[in-house]
């Protein structure tokens, strides 16, 4: 499990301007709905945007702190 604050911090490490919303879907702190809005997504395809977020969260995935994510990405205006 991982705290929602820690998820926000990991994403902002690679995308400092990111507006991040995290929702703990199951109450077990390992299945999350995550929404990320960032200018870093500009010019990227949806798959590339998702890969950017997954790269930021790689360590938390690898060590099992995160089991599943439903992800929504938006390009900041």
């Amino acid at each position: 499990m991982i705290a929602t604050d820690a998820i926000v911090a990991l994403i902002r490490e690679t995308m400092p301007d990111a507006d991040v919303t995290v929702f703990d879907r199951t109450g077990t702190m390992d299945h999350f709905n995550i929404g990320v809005t960032s200018s870093a997504f500009a010019g990227k395809t949806l798959i590339q945007q998702h890969q950017m977020v997954y790269r930021a969260l790689k360590a938390a995935h690898s060590d099992g702190r995160i089991h599943a994510i439903e992800l929504t990405t938006t390009v900041a205006e």
């Binding site: 949806l46 998702h50 995935h61 929504t72």
Partner: protein, 117 residues
């Protein structure tokens, strides 16, 4: 990354226009997201394959490294990686996915073109 798994994955991706790596099989999915992905493609009507990698950790690791994508399911269409339904859903809403599938199969989905008369 094991070269053997990489070659196996490339062969599977090359052999199937739509390929889903998931947890469980088409008939017996063992994960809600895998089930959701199967239902998603059932709605399109094109043939697709599901490869169960639930118990195959080395292959899952190879897949994650190849795609920069840590979770299952993982969807490949016509050799290109498209992530999961979080990506494919919005692409379908915009009509982009329909174009990709049409180009991959060279025709409309069987479900929409079958003439029953």
């Amino acid at each position: 990354m094991s070269e053997q798994f990489k070659q196996e994955i490339e062969a599977e991706v090359g052999a199937n226009k739509i390929l889903v790596y998931g947890k469980g099989t088409k008939d017996a999915p063992r994960c809600g997201f895998t089930l959701e992905t199967i239902q998603f493609f059932n709605n399109f009507g094109y043939p697709f394959e599901v490869v169960d990698v639930l118990e195959n950790m080395p292959k899952r690791e190879a897949l994650s490294q190849m795609t920069d994508w840590p979770t299952l399911p993982k969807v490949f269409i016509d050799g290109t990686f498209y992530g999961d339904t979080d990506v494919l859903g919005p692409m379908a809403e915009k009509g982009e996915l329909q174009t990709i599938l049409k180009n991959a199969f060279g025709s409309e989905a069987p479900k929409t073109t079958i003439n029953l008369h």
